[in-house]
Symmetry: C2
Subunit: 562 residues, 2 copies
């Protein structure tokens, strides 16, 4: 007997599941119901479409150039796709889905042997007045993006306010700023990418955005939108500011689309997303769910989390297809590895942030290392910052964050792989990674950062973060900021303060007597390496209150370039 | 009492060890003896110096621009470096090294508490006539490179023969070809990079080199060099050819420099390099050795191997420094992860090659996947080929190889990390790697290749390598090469053969009756994906003798572009 496989949702997880089932079971009757009029599009490419880099058509075609439309799925995969059909209920006893053809209003019953819920996510709507004004857009569906582009083409848009500085908000702000629009980015939390980055890295990103002309306003809540007499949005009102604008894009995040699952009595998890087991079965063994509508096991904490990502959705599709076709296949869980490219920076994180780890009660230690992504002498080098986050007692990696114009994501993927395998810092430091001058230093940044963290854990040195150091200065503490850089370096970038004492690293040993023994000493340089070495020299010379500036002036929380 | 740490060798491992000891022990008396006149230079950068990309000075300066000379080590590290001193003997009972000042011939005795042998490697010399001719060079020391550059500057050099198609031979050939010299690359083995790549990937590299005008001649042994009346080299004689040339660079690999260790009676390993334990102690507990003069534990096989690499040398320095300073620190071993950039390709391998694994008796399974390094629609995409090599019974990763204009090394580093952690294919396939359109597909190539291998292992499909397929064609076997590409794709690149049957993938299900049931069918496409899918379709439709072309026409062993 042919297995009837019914899939609700035709964007990413649904088609992937269908394709995998088809490859495993030539006889299955596979049907995808999609409420919209578009299927199988690469929604992660939408910001690049907005930026003018990718035609919409390319987001719906295969690598070989075939359009992934209804005909494609019928002809190439023997999968029936029906669009414009809204699934409204599941009769689990009869194993039927009741759906309505949105065009005609006609209801139809779809029987199934195996049902797949790939209902995705929906954008979070703000409960504020004015969201019904014209030129207020979401950025979730291709139709949203088409409307944004259409509005920009009117040439009536000079200013855009983007609400929400998460991944999509950042990508959209970058795409718009690149088109000479005046972009204001608004964020409730006190930093950009609050769910991805610790404040230190977020601060660097925010500075870069400011340099690119984006007006970033964090720590303010949007209270409402105001329009003109014609119904066009004209102002954003926040707890602090009133921002004039010609367009508003709301990118306040997404929530799982669980309406159908909840109505059918399927178990939801603590995150509000559909609960599934490792085979991606829901509480009803005939019903699977995957992609942006389910929660996932976090491999570091063992908790369920809601982290909707296309990479996860794709793997879910394969695992569901396997299980539907009778193969035992498990999805182990996620690390929340996330990456984006915005404002010419490659940005990402995996595992827990410092903030998350501390909130969960871990005893957290971190190291931040800026360095070049190639050998320091290779001409095509760029800067990358790697932050490693570990648990002190177990010396186990908990997470990592990266940011930089250079190849940051390679380091992120290495650290994500190490994290998934339960790597300790000591294992990590000796990984046999690829080295040649175009690709890395002989000691790759990821390993270098790990060694810095080991040095701290082993008690070789104490670190002080630039934010802490600046706070000490601001509090007027009596200390010495020992600047170890060469005069040429100091000229371009310096902290203007009486407490700075400049002794180049190669003169330090000869000039130790110039350094006061009775004061706290913070050793600093550009990237942290000389500061660390100098701290060891001072400790060896009998100084006791010594810490090095972690990540050096590269991580200083405000601009000191001259 | 101050520990006297004596280090023989001042290029890479020696200075790294000295620096680590100094940071841990402020009182140690650290002395480095170097036989040459240069210290602490980045020898991996020499090919880039030859190419004109990096001034020599940058290979001897820190990232902050300080020259790493004798003064630098004395002032900044309190380490004494003495150049022009050849260590000639070790009196292990007295803990003394006997050395000769090469300038004066004066002998001197250097006592030690801890001795470090960082004597590196020496180039393998060819036992052929003519190596003493003028314009016959090694490519090992900066002075070698200076001589090569000086010769090129005479403008008398039009043709260069490079002997040895290993990593250095390739980098040198690339650097020279970029300067409009006619380069002939000679290799004893039947392929380029014989110790790094399997023949399939090596073949692609070799074709690219041919397109860049390099005359690659593999499978021939150099018998001798001949010169003119002035003593200038003019010809290379091989077992097959006579090659006219104006210069010869011998890059036949290196061997460990173990003279001092052997004379002192220290244990050498089966590879001929110095044997050390995990703390990098030699058979004499007061003597450590690291870098290019020692052998390493291979983490996959458990065997000792000689794989001299700067990345390993750097880690050795840290581990030796730790142990000398009384900290317990272990070097776990290596995977032989190696990378190079040549002819606009990023190339690398980790772990075992197919050839090595088979020779060691593993039951080897492989998958080769070419794909774009970004989302397929991202405009700045490039091609990358990933080959994963695993053990069939344990489904454990054994090695990986990568090649491509795109970001191949990221995938290599991920696979190296997975390999170090003993990852199975099933763990690997679900790694939570970073995804955004500029960085990867939703299913990264490394995972895609892993899934292809799982499909083969799970019996879902049989693969045939392009080399095997071509051999079948050449043998005249009666089969069908089912080409699933679109007509536009076929036009540019096709196999001219009566046995090719073209049915586009989206017409396959409708045209099954055109395919003979009684013949072996090889499904093919550009990259392998449609071929795999079509193989599943045919198997589902009752065809029995079906295999897909692994890696597609991208991996075809000869040029078929039209």
């Amino acid at each position: 007997m042919k297995t009837r496989v019914l899939i609700i949702g035709g964007v990413a997880t649904g088609p992937k599941t269908a394709a995998r089932v088809r490859r495993l079971d030539p006889h299955a009757e596979i049907t995808i119901l999609e409420k919209g009029d578009m299927i199988s599009y690469g929604s992660c490419g939408l910001p690049y479409h907005l930026a003018g880099l990718v035609p919409m058509k390319e987001l719906t075609t295969t690598a070989a150039g075939l359009v992934r439309d209804i005909d494609f799925f019928r002809q190439e995969k023997n999968v029936a796709v029906i669009t414009g059909v809204l699934a409204e209920g599941i009769d689990r006893n009869r194993q039927e889905v009741i759906a309505t053809h949105l065009g005609t209003g006609k209801r139809q019953v779809w029987p199934y042997d195996r049902l797949v819920l790939a209902t995705g996510s929906v954008p979070i709507e703000l409960s504020i007045p004015g969201t019904d004004l014209q030129r207020v857009f979401s950025f979730h569906h291709p139709h949203d993006v088409a409307r944004v582009i259409q509005a920009i083409r009117t040439k009536e848009i000079k200013r855009v306010a983007v609400i929400g500085a998460g991944l999509i908000g950042l990508e959209v702000a970058d795409a718009l700023a690149g088109q000479r629009l005046k972009v204001t980015l608004l964020e409730l939390q006190p930093q950009v990418l609050p769910r991805l980055l610790d404040p230190d890295l977020a601060n660097l990103l925010q500075r870069q955005m400011g340099q690119r002309g984006v007006d970033v306003r964090t720590g303010q809540q949007v209270l409402g939108l105001e329009g003109d007499a014609g119904g066009m949005v004209r102002r954003v009102l926040t707890t602090i500011d009133t921002i004039d604008t010609d367009m508003v894009i709301i990118a306040a995040g997404v929530r799982p689309n669980v309406h159908l699952a909840r109505e059918a009595g399927l178990a939801l998890g603590t995150t509000g997303a559909i609960a599934v087991d490792a085979c991606l079965r829901t509480s009803d063994p005939a019903i699977f769910a995957g992609g942006d509508c389910v929660e996932n096991l976090h491999l570091v904490t063992g908790h369920q989390v809601y982290l909707p990502l296309a990479s996860t959705a794709n793997k879910h599709g394969r695992v569901m297809g396997d299980n539907i076709a009778g193969r035992d296949s498990r999805f182990p869980g996620v690390l929340g590895t996330t990456a984006l490219q915005a404002f010419d920076l490659n940005i990402g994180r995996t595992g827990l942030s410092t903030v998350e780890a501390e909130a969960l009660g871990y005893q957290v230690v971190t190291a931040v290392v800026p360095a070049t992504d190639t050998s320091h002498y290779f001409p095509m080098r760029s800067r990358v910052i790697v932050k490693v986050i570990a648990e002190a007692c177990s010396r186990r990696l908990l997470g990592a964050q990266v940011l930089g114009a250079g190849d940051a994501i390679k380091r992120l993927d290495v650290l994500a792989t190490a994290l998934a395998m339960g790597c300790t810092l000591d294992q990590l430091a000796n990984l046999d990674l690829a080295y040649a001058p175009p690709f890395a230093s002989a000691m790759d940044i990821a390993l270098h950062a790990t060694n810095t963290l080991r040095n701290k854990l082993d008690g070789l040195v104490q670190g002080v973060t630039p934010a802490e150091a600046k706070a000490k200065l601001d509090r007027g503490e009596d200390l010495v900021l020992l600047d170890l850089r060469q005069p040429g370096e100091i000229a371009g970038r310096r902290i203007e303060d009486q407490r700075v004492l400049a002794i180049p690293s190669n003169q330090l040993r000869a000039r130790l007597m110039e350094i006061p023994q009775d004061k706290e000493i913070i050793t600093l340089c550009e990237l942290g390496l000389r500061g660390y070495e100098a701290a060891r020299t001072l400790l060896g010379a009998g100084f006791t209150r010594v810490a090095f500036l972690e990540g050096g002036l590269e991580m200083w929380p405000e601009t000191i370039d001259h």
